[in-house]
Symmetry: C2
Subunit: 146 residues, 2 copies
């Protein structure tokens, strides 16, 4: 992990589809050496993959919220039950197990407030393990580098 590798990661973060020749001249190495490094980083799983990023509004995602969830039991089984409950809900984009007053923090992306209400009642409200739900609606994201 020398400065060339760091440059590679920097470039690939900005543009995951940059061509190998462009990448090579951006970091100051030949295309073949660059390719070997990239392949090596992929093999070592430093680079886990590549993803396209989309405009949520144009895809009909008009409502984003972080939802803090408290469970009624602190057992491992309760956690597994809850995780299973949200795993296949496509509106749940992230699920984090956190420290603090509540056990979980979700990022939920819905089409609208109405759609979120449905999610709130039908998914979260129907999970027996859920004790408390606290919704933080995202009004703006002045920084989002993920």
């Amino acid at each position: 992990m020398d400065k060339f590798d760091n440059k590679i990661l920097h470039e690939l973060k900005n543009d995951g589809r940059i061509s190998n020749v462009e990448l090579a001249q951006a970091i100051g190495l030949s295309p073949s050496a660059t390719l070997r490094r990239v392949q090596d980083l992929e093999k070592k799983k430093v680079i886990q993959g590549y993803r396209a990023v989309f405009d949520k509004e144009q895809l009909g995602i008009g409502f984003v919220a972080y939802v803090s969830i408290g469970l009624n039991s602190h057992t491992k089984q309760a956690q597994l039950d809850f995780e299973e409950h949200v795993r296949f809900e496509k509106e749940v984009v992230e699920c984090h197990n956190i420290t603090g007053a509540n056990e979980y923090l979700l990022r939920v992306e819905s089409a609208s407030l109405a759609a979120y209400k449905r999610f709130h009642s039908d998914v979260l409200g129907e999970c027996e393990r859920v004790k408390s739900i606290s919704t933080m609606v995202v009004m703006d994201s002045p920084k989002d580098e993920r």
Copy 2:
């Protein structure tokens, strides 16, 4: 935005570097038609870009937390001051303006707990607008599709 476009987006979310010919056969169209659609989606900014995703642990990110921030003033100026304060902090990966008891939710990625402590004291503690700080340490992320 028909079913072909949706398939394209689905494939590019899974693998942003899939080749056009592979993408074409995955969605059941010819390469040229596929390419035109992809270029069109890029032009319309439905596809905003492509990014490589990395293994944070291998890059020395051993500590991730969501931090809820309350300000001591609800004015627009206070918000702008705070946003400016975190904009150039590279440990702050996300900054969301939210509804609820506190105004902001940050995602912070640090090398270690010690590094986070430094961030907590030197960055957040030194911002005069900040009234309350509540840290939720991420212990696990059973789902993270971003």
